[in-house]
């Protein structure tokens, strides 16, 4: 093992840039995916088939196909359409397709959005019927019931499952290295591997960075659960 190759300024800088890339992609897709997931979840739990149908189809297709294929569909498929390419120079939002980073973020955002919608919809469906009845009895409107009663408790219930989703998403960002010109931790490891032909050193280092990130996320979510789910803990003496 020649781990000294990893601890040169150049390699460390490469992994540093990769770490920044991974975190950028992760945060961007969690924000975009989360923002899209909220309205889509409300559609998903609607009583009308024509409101929930399209969202069901979206989540079914996204959750039933590999993320790698979704990335390829967007980067090699949609971004290569003549219709898109004739617009990607000047008219927003099509300009995003010109940037491989944005293509990757779009694919990851759609993916995490679909999983988040199903989790949150499950949380909303699990709401105790009595709570909603009580809200109606207190004269709360449908919107008030949703914002003050249903969503706060549903989002709390979804928190443990969501922490798994965020960790899965962290791992999924490694697929960004399959898109040219996007740089993340896996991309850094792949370039060190191809420069020095040292697979163990390169990929073990990348794996350790991911492990540290994973444990950090687990710790952060434990703090969040202690805060928001404190009322569910057994009471200590």
């Amino acid at each position: 093992m020649q781990f000294d190759v990893i601890f040169t300024p150049d390699s460390l800088r490469l992994f540093g840039a990769g770490l920044v890339g991974t975190l950028q992609i992760l945060i961007a897709c969690l924000l975009i995916g989360g923002a899209l997931a909220l309205p889509m979840t409300l559609m998903r739990v609607s009583q009308h088939w024509w409101v929930k149908g399209p969202v069901w189809l979206f989540t079914y297709v996204v959750r039933g196909t590999p993320l790698l294929i979704q990335v390829y569909i967007i980067y090699y498929g949609v971004a290569q359409l003549d219709w898109i390419q004739s617009r990607w120079d000047d008219s927003w939002p099509w300009t995003g397709f010109k940037d491989p980073f944005m293509c990757a973020v779009l694919a990851f955002s759609m993916n995490t959005c679909a999983y988040t919608v199903e989790m949150l919809a499950g949380g909303i469906r699990d709401t105790n019927a009595g709570e909603i009845e009580a809200a109606h009895a207190m004269g709360l409107s449908k919107w008030q019931t949703l914002v003050r009663i249903v969503l706060p408790s549903a989002m709390r219930r979804t928190l443990p499952a969501y922490s798994n989703e965020v960790i899965m998403m962290l791992h999924s960002t490694s697929l960004a290295s399959t898109v040219p010109a996007v740089f993340d931790i896996t991309g850094a490891a792949r370039s060190i591997y191809s420069d020095f032909y040292l697979p163990f050193e390169a990929f073990i280092t990348a794996g350790l960075i991911y492990l540290v990130l994973t444990f950090t996320l687990v710790g952060l979510f434990r703090l969040a659960e202690n805060h928001w789910l404190a009322y569910l803990k057994p009471r200590g003496r």
Partner: protein
């Protein structure tokens, strides 16, 4: 021309299924072994199981796959060289992809099986032991048949993720349907309109068929195994 590409992607799907089913067998065996290790009374085994399931689940599939595929290649040759065997040996990418996916999902199966085993009242295993059955017999005739029902939901989940993970073997250069769809998209550019999108979408549809069929089949299986179970109704 276009039909030929569709046909080759369809053929590639057979390879994807082979990798998925082969990996599933490896994952189930490793999962049972891992669960047994984590629940055993020997401390070193518990540590081994814990390290396996924690580290593997903490690292992305792709990184592990690249590590095992490229690293395994060099590691094997260094080992053979030190044993005096001078020829260069190449690992078969099919076997490498299959074993790697099996090894990774074995860690997820470990957790699923461990949870299922723990949910079976220990009194049942104790009763078996009291009747003079051996440990192995208790496991296969008492614990395992009941564990299936409890493990099925987690197993279904793991299997669906595993099928989708087979798309990653295309990165190792194995001609699965993702690889073939990408190649077809590049080759037919200019001949077939929007070829990259068309062929990749076709591969996506095949994956969707796989996951749908699996869901339906496993739901039937779950119905069978929960036949005599009374569910609480509120």
């Amino acid at each position: 021309m276009t039909a030929g590409y569709f046909y080759s992607i369809l053929e590639g799907s057979l390879l994807s299924i082979q990798v998925a089913l082969g990996a599933l067998v490896v994952a189930v065996v490793l999962g049972l072994a891992g669960a047994a290790a984590k629940l055993s009374t020997h401390q070193p085994l518990v540590w081994l199981g814990t390290i396996y399931s924690t580290i593997i689940r903490g690292i992305p599939d792709l990184v592990l796959m690249l590590l095992i595929f490229y690293g395994g290649q060099i590691g094997l040759n260094v080992m053979l060289e030190s044993m005096g065997y001078m020829d260069y040996v190449e690992i078969n990418p099919f076997a490498a992809g299959l074993m790697t996916i099996g090894f990774i999902y074995g860690a997820y199966m470990t957790e699923t099986f461990r949870g299922a085993i723990m949910a079976i009242p220990t009194g049942q295993a104790e009763a078996g032991l009291a009747y003079g059955m051996g440990q192995t017999r208790v496991f296969f005739t008492i614990v395992l048949p009941q564990m299936v029902r409890l493990a099925l939901p987690g197993f279904t989940n793991n299997w669906l993720v595993l099928i989708k993970a087979t798309a990653l073997v295309s990165i190792l250069g194995l001609p699965d349907m993702t690889y073939l769809a990408k190649q077809a998209g590049a080759a037919a550019r200019g001949q077939t309109p929007n070829a990259p999108l068309l062929f990749m979408a076709f591969a996506a549809v095949i994956y969707l068929v796989f996951t749908t069929v699996s869901l339906v089949a496993l739901r039937q299986l779950e119905k069978r195994y929960t036949m005599g179970v009374k569910r609480g109704n509120f």
